[in-house]
């Protein structure tokens, strides 16, 4: 299958830091990539660079085989979506209106959202357990509800490539699993691809087909989850001692007191 996204020699531009390693990878339909790394390693910068929001120091990003650079934003938005880590709601707006902006890339200037667009937004809200809150003001939502709304906006947009910056932020355990299950289903059954920054190693090991380890010094290590999810590498990644637990679903890790090796 042709890759949705091809990253060729991508070096991130992070102010105040020496050039890191270059990233080369193909992301194909059905794959779910997890970005792991300590705070400040560049997970957010990578996601925003892949979305074309930041210039890279070097390298190329190809979407469907074409260089992303120079695409009109509207065309980019039809191919990929990004859920940010923080959400800014400057002005009053309802939950439904916020989900509906996901349809923006598919509407022309004079178009008004149709009944179909409303249905897509409403369905996304229901999928994120927000169906009953459609008319609520965004400012009145809790942190977790606001996070689910951001994911509902992405579901409404429904692009082939999903970028998510800590999608499980603020979510309770049930909704963390529900969101990740949804992402897994979308990639497996509908041919989507996802790249997400995560902090929970065990959730990453469970749900991601591939992992990118992003070291604080700019070093990178990537590959299929089975190949990359190794205790010594993870200990070095976070500077944290870890113990491996073997579960029927694969290996898990548990933090131990003390720094990593």
């Amino acid at each position: 299958m042709n890759p949705l996204l091809t990253v060729e020699g991508l070096v991130l531009a992070i102010p105040g830091r020496a050039r890191g390693m270059a990233l080369d990878c193909d992301i194909r339909p059905g794959e779910c990539w997890g970005l792991l790394g300590p705070n400040g390693a560049g997970k957010t910068t990578l996601l925003q660079t892949l979305a074309g929001l930041r210039p890279a120091a070097a390298g190329r990003i190809l979407v469907d085989g074409y260089d992303l650079h120079g695409w009109p934003r509207r065309r980019v938005a039809q191919r990929l979506g990004l859920v940010f880590q923080d959400h800014h709601d400057g002005f009053p707006s309802t939950v439904l209106e916020t989900a509906l902006i996901g349809r923006h890339p598919f509407l022309r200037a004079w178009d008004v959202e149709s009944a179909h667009d409303h249905e897509l937004a409403q369905r996304a809200l229901v999928a994120m357990d927000l169906g009953d809150l459609a008319q609520r003001q965004v400012q009145t939502l809790s942190g977790g509800e606001r996070q689910r709304l951001a994911i509902a906006t992405l579901l409404t947009q429904d692009p082939p490539l999903w970028l998510l910056d800590e999608p499980t932020n603020h979510l309770d355990l049930h909704h963390q699993v529900a969101v990740l299950e949804r992402i897994r289903r979308e990639t497996r059954e509908r041919g989507k691809a996802a790249i997400m920054a995560l902090h929970d190693l065990n959730l990453a090991a469970t749900y991601c087909t591939h992992l990118v380890l992003m070291y604080a010094d700019g070093g990178l290590c990537w590959g299929e989850t089975d190949a990359v999810f190794h205790v010594p590498a993870l200990e070095r990644l976070f500077g944290q001692a870890l113990a491996r637990i073997d579960t029927p679903g694969g290996p898990w890790v548990r933090p131990l007191p003390g720094p990593g090796c």
Partner: protein
């Protein structure tokens, strides 16, 4: 659809109220006219006095007030989206001041109305570039930094105006002073403000949804397919044109751009496709009423309308500033 119907009702109610306000404004004054007399004058009938009062004196002024109010309200709404800050207003940010200096320079040079408008636009654009350029800096716009820059630039323009008036005293000085405070007594029937108002309302419809997305932040807007850079420049330009048209007509009337979008958002939300036409109507309505008060409350003396809008706007501004403390 439900939202569409509500938007229609909102606009119809506002338009009806606006027509009533225009009618009332034309009726009231040193000589009170009955509605029947006003309507008769509209159709070229009735007494000479009533016809002169309505068609030559009151109606042109009322229409100028209406257009100015609509323009200022839209300028405020556009700047608020651009800066994601409900305190943005062409007067507070010094854009009106820049336009006033431009217009005043052209007037002192004895240029025609077209040049005065063009010069006002140049002043508004220059002021926009200064304020937004400085306040933006390398980081993002913080409300305090932006407001401070705007207030200082506005004070600077005020000093330039005082200087210009001092070195170039003219018999029209009192009139100019009034004009600078925001005054419609000199405003006479010119189609320009109406033309600009119509243009911005029509442009606002296709731009509206993009502005809605932009109101959620430039990054979010870019991810959803908005060419943020292009749109922001278009809005800068539009806001400067609109402000210049308003200032050319009525001087620096303050706070309409603050009051009207704020009140409207409380009632109809923040969909720019509805907010912009609604701001045109509500801004027009507000300034028509304010000007009617300004010319009748201490008759036969007249107040500049800017005094009335400031009396409404200053407390609201302070309230919003107080509430935005975190």
């Amino acid at each position: 659809m439900k939202a569409g119907k509500r938007a229609f009702v909102t606009l119809v109610v506002l338009a009806g109220t606006a027509v009533a306000a225009v009618l009332a404004s034309v009726m009231l004054g040193s000589v009170r006219l009955a509605p029947a007399e006003v309507l008769a004058a509209f159709f070229g009938q009735g007494g000479d006095l009533a016809r002169t009062l309505v068609l030559e004196l009151r109606l042109p002024r009322t229409l100028a007030a209406f257009a100015t109010g609509g323009l200022l309200a839209i300028a405020g709404a556009l700047m608020q989206v651009l800066l994601r800050n409900p305190l943005a207003d062409p007067y507070v940010l010094g854009i009106s001041g820049g336009a006033a200096v431009g217009a005043l320079l052209a007037m002192i040079a004895g240029l025609s109305l077209g040049w005065v408008s063009g010069s006002a636009f140049a002043g508004a654009m220059l002021s926009t570039l200064i304020v937004f350029g400085l306040a933006h800096g390398t980081g993002s716009w913080t409300p305090t930094r932006l407001l401070l820059t705007g207030v200082v630039v506005a004070a600077g323009w005020g000093a330039v105006i005082t200087f210009l008036l001092a070195v170039r005293p003219s018999p029209e000085l009192p009139g100019m002073l009034y004009w600078l405070m925001g005054d419609l007594s000199q405003a006479r029937g010119s189609g320009l403000p109406w033309l600009v108002l119509l243009m911005v309302v029509v442009l606002g419809l296709p731009l509206g949804r993009s502005l809605n997305v932009l109101a959620r932040g430039p990054m979010q807007a870019a991810v959803l397919g908005v060419s943020v850079y292009r749109l922001e420049w278009a809005v800068y330009l539009l806001a400067a044109v609109v402000t210049a048209a308003a200032v050319t007509t009525a001087g620096t009337v303050g706070f309409v751009g603050l009051i009207v979008p704020h009140m409207l958002r409380l009632v109809i939300g923040n969909d720019q496709r509805l907010l912009i036409p609604a701001a045109a109507l509500a801004g027009g309505l507000l300034l028509t009423l304010a000007d009617t008060v300004a010319r009748t409350v201490i008759a036969p003396q007249q107040l500049p309308v800017g005094v009335i809008t400031a009396m409404l706007g200053v407390p609201l501004f302070l309230f919003l500033l107080y509430r935005s403390r975190t």
